[in-house]
């Protein structure tokens, strides 16, 4: 019980799968509060699956996910999940502001509508993402990078304790990346834990305090300095990655 009271995210013996088969099992690790974890591994290595299990999108078949020593209370919105862009119905008739306001729904509760305060927060979050005054536009009118920033704004207004990002940088150009890095760092500065699946290996040492290497299970988990090493990366990617020291 080394995790209680310090806000750590503790995953114990987690097994994930559909039906009667486990796609992954025996996942155990502990993320200190305010850490930025880079989740890396080959395609299909289970990064998305792990994130979705942490988010509660797919059920954990066994094991525990504890935050601050107690089971996660998703209904308070303490976990924010930024899905891959392909997973969202961009033709749905909503504006950017409505999407961001959805991050406040749980705080409002059943039978209650978001109020002026929620809309103010949504507008402020959009402005912080460089989308000031664009809240009334339909979501399909934004570029890919902008759509990702709308989702990041939604995570912001959720006031989460944990933010899960599934390949947020895919299809985002370098101009758009700066605001991403800045936001992730500010989450960490506010002691919000960030776990981010990414293919951008080069960015990991600059951005992440911890690295989780995955290949149908966890190959290695630890502080970046100890885990982001040529040897471990080679083990994770099966020798198919060029490692620069």
């Amino acid at each position: 019980m080394n995790a209680d009271a310090n806000g750590a995210l503790e995953v114990r013996d987690l097994a994930i799968g559909y039906g009667s088969t486990f796609t992954m099992q025996d996942l155990t690790f502990e993320v200190p509060r305010g850490a930025v974890v880079g989740l890396i591994g080959p395609n299909g290595s289970g990064k998305s699956t792990l994130l979705k299990a942490l988010a509660g999108v797919i059920p954990a078949r066994r094991g525990r996910i504890l935050l601050n020593g107690t089971p996660i209370d998703r209904s308070s919105g303490e976990i924010a999940f930024v899905p891959q862009r392909e997973e969202v119905n961009w033709d749905f008739p909503v504006t950017a502001r409505s999407v961001v306001t959805m991050g406040r729904y749980r705080r409002r509760g059943w039978l209650r509508w978001p109020g002026p305060d929620d809309h103010r927060r949504a507008d402020a979050a959009l402005a912080r993402m460089g989308l000031e005054g664009m809240g009334n536009r339909h979501i399909s009118q934004f570029s890919g990078g902008q759509q990702q920033r709308i989702f990041l704004a939604r995570a912001l207004v959720q006031e989460p304790r944990i933010v899960l990002l599934d390949e947020p940088l895919t299809g985002v150009d370098s101009a758009n990346r700066a605001v991403f890095y800045e936001t992730i760092r500010s989450f960490a500065a506010q002691q919000v834990t960030v776990i981010m699946a990414t293919h951008e290996l080069d960015e990991v040492p600059h951005l992440c305090s911890h690295v989780c290497c995955m290949d149908h299970g966890i190959v290695a988990f630890g502080p970046t300095a100890e885990t982001y090493t040529p040897e471990i990366l080679r083990r994770t990617f099966g020798g198919q990655v060029a490692v620069f020291s």
Partner: protein, 302 residues
């Protein structure tokens, strides 16, 4: 002026107008979620699956609402459970189920003498024959459906747009989906007398699809869809009265006409607008493709 006032001198036409307006409005609003979630096929399945319930209550001389509700409830439950498991190919399972239910209804009614006449009324509705009680039942159920829909509107919107977020927020997504299917079932049940089993889907799908072409805002879409449903019902009834056409089918064709007009002239999504934009060489903003901007990463893969 007598074109509009003459039919209303008859009590049956007054009741038909009222019934069709309520049905058109409720279908228009509930149908928005059917269209946005791609549930048209499931809606059709529900409409067919309630048929044995309709037939049985008809034969027992009870309100068809009761029988339809019982069958609709279990079908909605079945559909919800089937679509939850990933192993069954969902649409074949639903297809098998609803065709069988429908056939069961036909077999039951074929045991009756003179069943062809009854079958026609049940399959295509008989809005001109609704009683005061029928109208009251429609008002009651319609109001209940709208009340529940608006009470859960925030949650229905969220699960329709991004069910991943809904799950990560700990919402009971399965039960919300079930609630939506129940509302669709109730809508179908109260609409049966207006347009019947076969055509009900048109009232649920056509006005929302038309409204979607005309607006990018969910609430405007719902308001517009309800309006279109009501207007199509009124216009359809007038046309059917004056030209002596089948009422339910005329309402459906009127709604279809609205859809075709919108498809051509809608400001952003219409065919004309697309053509004009193509001629001008403008990139249409609504057709943004994520792939345009994707940087193909050299991903280490095995």
């Amino acid at each position: 002026m007598s074109f509009f006032t003459d039919p209303l001198t008859y009590g049956f036409m007054q009741r038909a107008m009222l019934e069709a307006c309520i049905v058109g409005g409720v279908c228009g609003i509930v149908g928005c979620f059917v269209v946005l979630r791609g549930l048209a096929f499931i809606g059709d399945a529900l409409a067919h699956a309630v048929f044995p319930g309709v037939v049985i209550s008809y034969m027992l001389d009870r309100s068809i609402v009761i029988g339809a509700f019982i069958f609709g409830f279990f079908t909605a439950l079945g559909v919800g459970i089937v679509s939850r498991s990933r192993r069954v190919t969902e649409d074949s399972a639903i297809g098998v189920l609803f065709a069988a239910f429908f056939a069961l209804g036909v077999v039951i009614i074929s045991r009756q003498s003179g069943f062809r006449r009854d079958l026609g009324a049940l399959l295509f509705g008989n809005v001109l024959g609704v009683s005061h009680t029928d109208v009251l039942v429609t008002v009651g159920i319609g109001a209940a459906v709208l009340l529940i829909l608006f009470a859960l509107l925030k949650e229905f919107t969220l699960t329709a747009f991004d069910s991943t977020l809904a799950r990560s927020l700990g919402y009971p997504v399965f039960w919300l989906d079930m609630a939506l299917l129940m509302l669709v079932t109730a809508t179908i049940v109260v609409s049966l007398q207006t347009v019947g089993n076969i055509l009900i889907l048109a009232l649920i799908v056509t006005p929302p699809a038309t409204a979607r072409l005309l607006t990018d805002d969910l609430y405007r879409m719902m308001a517009l869809s309800a309006t279109l449903g009501v207007v199509a019902s009124i216009a359809g009834l007038y046309i059917s009265y004056h030209w002596d056409l089948a009422a339910g089918a005329t309402i459906v064709l009127t709604a279809t006409a609205f859809f075709i007009v919108a498809l051509v002239v809608a400001p952003d999504h219409g065919l004309l607008a697309h053509e004009i934009q193509k001629r001008r060489g403008h990139h249409h903003v609504h057709h943004y493709h994520p792939a345009d901007e994707a940087l193909t990463e050299d991903v280490p893969a095995r």
